[in-house]
């Protein structure tokens, strides 16, 4: 079966996120008051062949651990959906 995997890879909490900081400033300058704690990471989408949703999730996790997220600097979350 085909599954759709969506991964969100974010800079680990506590690490400096210069992009997030710059965007936070820019939002303020644009008059969007009240936006803060801006963090910027990567969104990854992919299609996956797997026997079950569990298997798809396990596979996706392995992909994140090995390639999609940098374990030294990033955390990830993922969601799997049948399609």
């Amino acid at each position: 079966m085909k599954y759709q995997v969506r991964v969100r890879v974010m800079p680990r909490g506590g690490l400096l996120d210069p992009q997030g900081q710059a965007v936070e400033h820019a939002l303020g300058a644009l008059g969007f008051a009240g936006a803060d704690e801006v963090r910027i990471g990567r969104a990854i989408e992919l299609a996956l062949d797997a026997g079950s949703s569990d298997e798809a999730e396990k596979l996706a996790r392995a992909m994140c651990d090995r390639l999609l997220a940098n374990p030294v600097t990033e955390d990830y979350e993922l969601a799997v959906e049948g399609r």
């Binding site: 506590g14 690490l15 400096l16 210069p18 940098n70 030294v72």
Partner: protein
Amino acid sequence: MTETVTPVTEAHPFEGERPVTSEVVREHNLNDLEYERIVAMLGRTPTLTELGVFSALWSEHCSYKHSKPILRRFPTTGPNVVQGPGENAGVLRLPDGWAVAFKVESHNHPSAVEPYQGAATGVGGILRDVFTMGARPVALLNSLRFGPLDVPRNRYLFAGVVRGVGDYGNCVGVPTLGGEVAFAPGYTGNPLVNAMCVGLLREDDLITARAEGVGNVLLAVGSRTGRDGIHGASFASEELSAESEARRPQVQVGDPFTGKLLLEASLELITSGLIVAIQDMGAAGLTSSSAEMAARGGVGVEIDTGLVPTREPGMTPYEILLSESQERMLVVAEPGQVSAIKAVCTKWELEAATIGHITDDGLYRVRHHGLVVAEIPGQRLLDDCPMYEPVAAEGSAAVARRAARPEGRTGPSLSEALERLLDAPSLASKRWVFEQYDSTVRANTVLPPGGDAGVLRVPGADFGVAVTLDCNARLLALDPYEGGKAAVAEAARNLACTGAVPLGVTDCLNFGNPEKPEVFFQFVEGCRGIAEACTVFETPVTGGNVSFYNESPTGAIDPTPTIGMVGLLEDVDAAVSSHFATTDDRIFLAGTTRGELGGSAYWAEVLDFVGGTPAVVDLAAERALQRFLVGAARQRLLRSAHDCSDGGLGLALAEAAIGGPYVSTGTGAAIDLDGLAPGLSPEALLFGETGARAVLSVAPDRQGALEALAREHGVPLAALGRVGKPDSPFILKLGGDTLSWPIAELRSIYHNAIPRRMRPAGEDAADRGD
């Protein structure tokens, strides 16, 4: 714990702080002798905050406790030295009121953990070291070492480091003009990332990092302080092991945009005369910058960590003092200037906060919202770290390697050997690397990367500056003394090939664990060689960096003291490039060929044999060659000059004929080596690594003048052949044979050697291997 005597100073534990036990002391990498000194100095048990301060300042990285006595042997003075060692960067005098500031730093351990950020923050740090002197950074260089590229993790580190070096320098807008990359098994697990920066200033604008003036205030300028890199200095001062991995500091993330704003703001603060002193908060962050600035000025200092802008709430004084968050500067100023300073910072969108002041009691005092959490005699904090001079004894393995010969190994044909050398990643074109670095921004680049040295003009002046960064670690592994000499000689030769007079040196001494006798031997002998060569060349050492403990579970790295050198081209318009340019120009070899193959690239890369006795470096011959090259450039006798280093004459000739990285085709050449050095085997003739040699090309009508000049300098000159028409073959006659290649074929081998071993960008993370 040691008995408490009469306290000299008073400090209070911060709330919730762990008591200082012997275990805590050990965790801080302080030995018994060191701890006893601390207790004696304070007359009491230190607080945890104080222990953290000592641990950072008495780390190898900050205290140079294993290297200081040896470093004193370097020549550091000379008529052109404006600022010698001890400041953030050395400064040398140039003509017309100009001066050049330059410095090299290692970022090896952070890059082993996180190659991209480790390398990027290394570049950021070295930029700050140079602009704190009041100099505008105008060139970057980098020296890199990795394990072989057939190991996936090495590819990952290489790709990440190059991207990190590039992204930071590119974003800040400082061109990268040179560097080197080499690959050898000893660097697997412990890559080397050395970054060098060169800046220009008006000598009048020079500013040093001496805190002065009781009552003057301290300001923290730039990024907020986070928990990044706490204990980075101690991390850099131990071997990489599974254990250190677990305790590794939180990764520091570079913010080149803020780095650029900080550069502009700092230069504006310095040239406007608003400040007294300024220093980067580098290794050991606020602690080392404040303690060092105060000690240089012979004053006391008081900081309130509660006033330091932080990125996260709830940071302790310990964390704030030891954080290595990037893009921060410490500024000393008169109280009346604070508002003007803040206005400059605001213009550059930077934060500035008053965090302390200078006192007359000579103490290093830290408060946190008023509570004194550390109070240490300031000068003794820096001076009383015990100095060590470990045992130095050459390892028997090195002796055996030097005595060994590749007996019984038969090499491939000469022509295959040359192709293999051109294809060896350590010798091949580094275009894959320097194409990722902006080398033309600021529009002053006269000679970009890809030749012997980078050359830039000084805007508005006739003169220019040449820069290079070199080391052949294989030679040092076999004979650290000769290898040390060779590294300096190669750097000077590279500069002289462009026509520049070598002026001075910055060095990055990368070695293993100095507590091992065989490593300390390498260090002492390597430094002896460097010192001797610098003395003969009259190129004082104006600064540098020592990086010890470059070891991984597989052992120590090869000793790798990289030599950064700057030179002066009186007439930058006369700069000489490395590549043949014009059909029918005459090709010469300057210098004597003796055919030494010990430690050569030919043995290592073609015969897979690392050993032998490296060539003895003839410093007088090097000096004569340098003078001859500079004179020839000045008289505009040369069309090209390329030094012979690893790979010997064969590689130098091929590189010159292959042409620059972006010509559509090389020129080719017809070369006859019979008669050059009768009695040498063809291998020794072609690939021997005698120093003090350079391959030159000359317009036919300048040949006579060149020969006369060579005689004047006592430099042997041998005619080897002629430059071909564009795209003509590369022909070598030697030992009765004629070898010939289409130049496009050699060009393709040379430029594709690295790309063909690497994955495309984006796929390289697959090599991370964890």
